[in-house]
């Protein structure tokens, strides 16, 4: 798959869809295209976040450490983005992501992503919208949970 196909794919991801076309292409061009074998770790809990990953192909599982050992909390696949929030806050990764199948990703470095967002106000607003939506969802979830607990 060449650069043009990557750009095509990126357009379908809401997080990147509002970025100007030339910038989308630049984002792809500046990113690394990486292959992970099954079992290889993409991000590890505790490491500092230095990149976001877009899955192009394959499946990866998200796990978090707990008292009963590591617990798989999610599985991610094609066109999903990993770790895009962590790169805006200087905090360690909260989960580990491991390839289940052979996984192909686009690794967008923190600097590249932030720079692109800085150049694209529309993209920044889209990003805020997505994050705000998540906050809304989380809050609602919390209210539901608290209400349920009572």
């Amino acid at each position: 798959m060449s650069l043009d196909q990557e750009v095509e794919m990126m357009r379908q991801i809401p997080l990147f869809s509002r970025i100007a076309p030339a910038m989308q292409k630049l984002l792809c061009f500046g990113s690394e295209r990486l292959t992970y074998d099954p079992g290889q770790v993409l991000v590890k809990v505790g490491d500092m976040a230095d990149a976001a990953y877009v899955i192009i192909e394959g499946q990866a599982e998200v796990s978090v450490p707990s008292q009963r050992g590591t617990v798989v909390v999610n599985t991610m696949g094609k066109n999903e983005v990993i770790g895009e929030i962590a790169i805006f806050v200087d905090l360690p990764r909260t989960a580990t992501v491991t390839a289940i199948t052979k996984v192909e990703v686009l690794r967008i470095s923190k600097d590249l992503f932030i720079n692109v967002v800085r150049q694209n106000p529309d993209a920044a607003i889209e990003l805020i919208r997505i994050l705000a939506m998540r906050l809304v969802n989380t809050t609602q979830q919390l209210i539901k949970n608290t209400a349920g607990a009572k």
Binding site: K25, T35, N115
Partner: protein, 904 residues
């Protein structure tokens, strides 16, 4: 060294000077004869004075012993050749020619001997000055700039060498010559002689007077030139400060002002110099005027014969030159005397170390057991204050001692006193039974190793820097044969004549015994061990991996590394990681390498095929043209330029993406856009050569796998392969050594060790490939036992001026390794770990303590708590030893150590 130049010259060159004197006297005699002969030639054969009739003959070269009448009158030893007028003329002229040749040969001999003598004296002087530098007290180096020392030894004493040859011979020779000419003239005619004498006297009085000012100027010139050298060195040493504070223009102004002053001095100098020359010339040309008029008158009135007048004028022709040169000589004498005095002022230093201190001693008695005793040790600094004040202590020679105190407590000075780098103002230090304050350096330099807060590395390889501490004396003499032996003997003779050392720099100075090993191999192992102690083994291994092996290394080494290449290939295969490294294959295009690398398919040697600028190489252009690749690459370049313009046009200038990702710099973007416009207008084939070459250069940096632009398809790859083969087979002989082609079965000397072992590119699309493959290389090298070998190759790394090509911490670690390599009885560390990061500080200090178990360490620690691992602690306050004991003892007491601990 003598304070006066002439004292120095006479003391050291008396014998040589005396050897030349007879030659000068002989030359004078010949000179006189050559002046006299023309008179005879003109008067006798030409004017025919002794040839009254055509058949007259004279005797030529007759030798008669004039004896008084009462013994029997003249006694003719040899009747001579009886010659007629014409043969007599030729005989005399031939004799004249022979005289000239003989005199010329004598002069040649005199000049050569003078030159030799001068060079010998210059050599002696330079060596003596350098010897003085080595014997300067350390404090001296705080006041004198190194560049000024260098200028003095190199430039300022240079004219001295020239002068030494002239010092005594010239006045003798020129004076003799002038005197001969003068006597000759006087002998011919008294009046004419008086005229000549008078003019010479005027010259000799006026000229030196006019020259007095020149001497002052010369002195100023020397000082300003020396200071300029010093300032230039300062600028180069302080270049960081200059740029950090935007003071480059201040420096420019300073140097400009200095150059201006120098110009002013020279300006006046030249003005006066040429004025003097004018007066001088005028005076010497005034005399012939007088000769012609007065001499002519005398001839006309018959009081002088023409032959004599011609001879007088000929003699006079030779008179002004020696007189002028004599005056020059006098000028030079004063000038050189000034230079000598000024240089001596800088080198006449009090407290010069005595010669005996630096004597070569083969196996000095070194302290083995016993104690380090300091008794009443004091040091007064330049300002007169006591920085170390009456310190006395006694600790075991094998103890680990910490010295603690505030920065101004005199802790560093105490360490330097113990290392005998500075002689104490009073008091003594002894180690074992040896008085360290008076022991020769052969003892202190081997028994003690001192590492200060920032150590100096010589601009050599890491290995040579490490072994530097073992080079106390030539251990194994070099063996010379034939021509080399004769040369060595010549050098030894000359060194002996000029007070130089007879020690041979060509010998092997590395003292294995001092490092406690038997031979070179064992020493290498000791070096590795020392490196491990200071955490430098791994960095050196890394260096080794990244460096190319020197061409003179054995082929055996190459074989071993080829073995590693094979082992690495197998290892990748067994781990199913073959496709993590794309190997170089002569028959395949490597998609993880640049197009340039694919085309060249080898490691460039030298600059001709520099991979960054491969497109500019004329032979490459020719290959592209002849294989028909130019058109293809032009099309790729065109597309690439289009993509770059599309991607980067909207970014502001200076954006970091240009550096990271772009093939085109921001400032070139408008130009590239213009080229693209021209391509649209005229088509790719019809743009001008400059545009073409710009577009053509772009694809050379393309890496298909990384850039994923899909610009190089399989067909193009095939044509690049063809060009690769064409490139190699048609390579002209002149370029054959500019590239070393990749060959799976051969070691590429021009490439790094790592590149040779991989023999390919780590693929860019495989996550974590670089780390894992790097790890595998290490594993493989470890398993093959090649790790030490790689470290040894790393040790060939050149550290640069003052070690500047190494990080500061690494420099310090190498200095530490150098210090422990010579196994000193006492290792003195004066805040030696300060520049290391905290983690490696604790690792290195623990390892050092472990390594030196049973051998002494005196440790000036920066952080007081670091003293905890020492067996004995000395606490200093304002130069006085206020507390000593074990760390625990002192901590319990409410004393100085506790105060320091509280301060943190």
């Amino acid at each position: 060294m003598e304070r006066s130049l002439f004292g120095y010259i006479i003391r050291y060159s008396k014998r040589d000077q005396l050897l030349i004197v007879p030659l000068v006297v002989a030359s004078m005699v010949l000179y006189f004869l050559s002046l006299d002969l023309p008179k005879t030639i003109i008067n006798e054969p030409i004017q025919g004075r002794r040839f009254p009739d055509p058949e007259s003959t004279v005797s030529f070269l007759g030798i008669a012993l004039r004896l008084p009448e009462f013994i029997g009158g003249d006694w003719r030893l040899f009747d001579g050749f009886v010659l007629e007028r014409m043969p007599y003329l030729f005989a005399l002229t031939l004799a004249f020619l022979l005289l000239i040749v003989a005199n010329g040969l004598l002069k040649y001999q005199i000049n050569t001997m003078k030159g030799w003598m001068g060079e010998r004296m210059l050599r002696r002087l330079r060596y003596a000055l350098f010897d003085h530098i080595l014997r300067f007290p350390l404090a001296r180096f705080r006041r004198v700039k190194s560049a000024e020392l260098a200028t003095m030894i190199k430039d300022e004493v240079e004219p001295l060498g020239g002068f030494v040859g002239e010092a005594l011979i010239t006045p003798l020779f020129l004076g003799g010559q002038a005197l001969t000419a003068l006597l000759f003239i006087l002998y011919q005619h008294v009046y004419l002689g008086m005229i000549a004498l008078g003019m010479v006297a005027v010259q000799a009085v006026i000229i030196p007077k006019m020259r007095r000012r020149l001497l002052t100027l010369a002195k100023q010139r020397q000082l300003t030139a020396r200071q300029l050298a010093g300032r230039i060195a300062e600028v180069s040493d302080g270049i960081v400060e200059i740029h950090a504070h935007d003071t480059s223009n201040h420096e420019r102004a300073d140097i400009a002002a200095r150059l201006g002053r120098m110009f002013r001095i020279r300006f006046e100098f030249y003005q006066r110099k040429f004025m003097i020359k004018f007066v001088n010339n005028f005076l010497s040309q005034l005399t012939p005027f007088l000769f012609y008029s007065v001499g002519g008158y005398l001839v006309i009135v018959g009081k002088l014969d023409i032959g004599a007048l011609v001879a007088v004028i000929a003699a006079y022709k030779d008179l002004p030159t020696p007189v002028k040169e004599l005056i020059d000589w006098d000028q030079q004498r004063l000038d050189v005397q000034i230079k000598y005095t000024q240089v001596m002022e800088q080198f006449m230093v009090e407290n010069l170390a005595p010669r005996t201190l630096h004597e070569v001693i083969d196996r000095p008695l070194l302290p083995q057991h016993g104690k380090i005793c300091a008794s009443n040790l004091s040091l007064v600094d330049e300002s007169g204050s006591k920085v170390v004040d009456g310190v006395s202590f006694e600790v075991g020679l094998d103890a680990h001692v910490a010295i603690v105190g505030r920065p101004d407590s005199g802790r560093s000075e105490l360490a330097q006193l113990l290392a005998r780098l500075v002689p104490p103002s009073s008091g003594t230090v002894s180690m074992g039974d040896i008085d360290i304050t008076r022991a020769p350096e052969a003892v202190t330099g081997r028994a003690i190793a001192y590492v200060g807060p920032s150590s100096y590395l010589f601009p050599l390889s890491v290995r040579e820097n490490l072994l530097y501490a073992l080079k106390h004396r030539p251990v194994r003499e070099a063996v010379y044969e034939g021509e080399e032996l004769r040369e060595r003997e010549f050098q030894l003779r000359e060194a002996a004549r000029t007070g130089g050392t007879s020690l041979d720099i060509g010998a092997d100075w590395t003292d294995y015994e001092s490092a406690g090993v038997a031979d070179a191999d064992a020493l290498e192992n000791r070096v590795l061990e020392s490196l491990r102690i200071v955490e430098m083994e791994e960095p050196m291994f890394e260096r080794g991996l990244r460096s190319a092996i020197a061409p003179d290394r054995s082929t055996e080494l190459r074989e071993l590394l080829l073995g590693a290449r094979e082992a690495m290939r197998e290892r990748l295969a067994t781990l199913h990681m073959e496709d993590w490294v794309e190997r170089f294959d002569p028959a395949r295009y490597n998609r993880n390498a640049t197009l340039a690398e694919n085309l060249l398919f080898g490691a460039p040697v030298g600059k001709a095929f520099d991979i960054e600028n491969l497109a500019q190489n004329p032979y490459v252009a020719q290959v592209l043209e002849e294989t028909g690749l130019t058109g293809d690459l032009l099309a790729v370049g065109h597309q690439l330029a289009g993509t770059m313009v599309e991607l980067f046009s909207d970014l502001p200038p200076g954006h970091e993406f240009f550096d990271q990702f772009s093939f085109i710099r921001h400032e070139d973007l408008p130009n590239v856009k213009a080229i693209l416009a021209r391509v649209t207008e005229f088509g790719l084939t019809r743009i001008d050569p400059a545009d073409r070459s710009q577009l053509l250069a772009l694809p050379f940096k393309l890496i298909s796998a990384r850039h994923r632009l899909g610009l190089i398809d399989e067909a193009l790859e095939g044509r690049v392969l063809e060009a690769r083969r064409y490139f190699a087979t048609r390579l002209p002989g002149t370029l054959r050594h500019a590239v070393e082609f990749f060959d799976p079965t051969r070691y590429t000397s021009a490439a790094s060790l790592q590149d040779n072992i991989l023999f390919g590119k780590i693929v860019s699309g495989q996550a974590d490939a670089a780390q894992r493959v790097g790890g595998l290389i290490r594993q493989v090298l470890d398993e093959l036992g090649l790790r030490p070998l790689v470290v040894k190759i790393g040790l060939d790394y050149q550290v640069g001026v003052g070690g500047a090509r190494l990080p500061v911490a690494d420099r310090q670690k190498i200095a530490l390794a150098r210090a422990i390599l010579k196994r000193p009885a006492v290792l003195i560390l004066d805040q030696a770990l300060g520049v290391l990061d905290p983690a490696s500080q604790s690792v290195v200090s623990a390892r050092l303590a472990e390594h030196r178990k049973g051998a002494g360490i005196v440790w000036v620690v920066q952080r007081v708590d670091a003293a905890e691992q020492a067996q004995h602690v000395l606490v200093l306050e304002r130069g006085r030893l206020v507390e000593q004991g074990t760390f625990d003892e002192l901590r319990k007491r409410n004393g100085a150590l506790n105060r320091l601990l509280k301060e943190g």
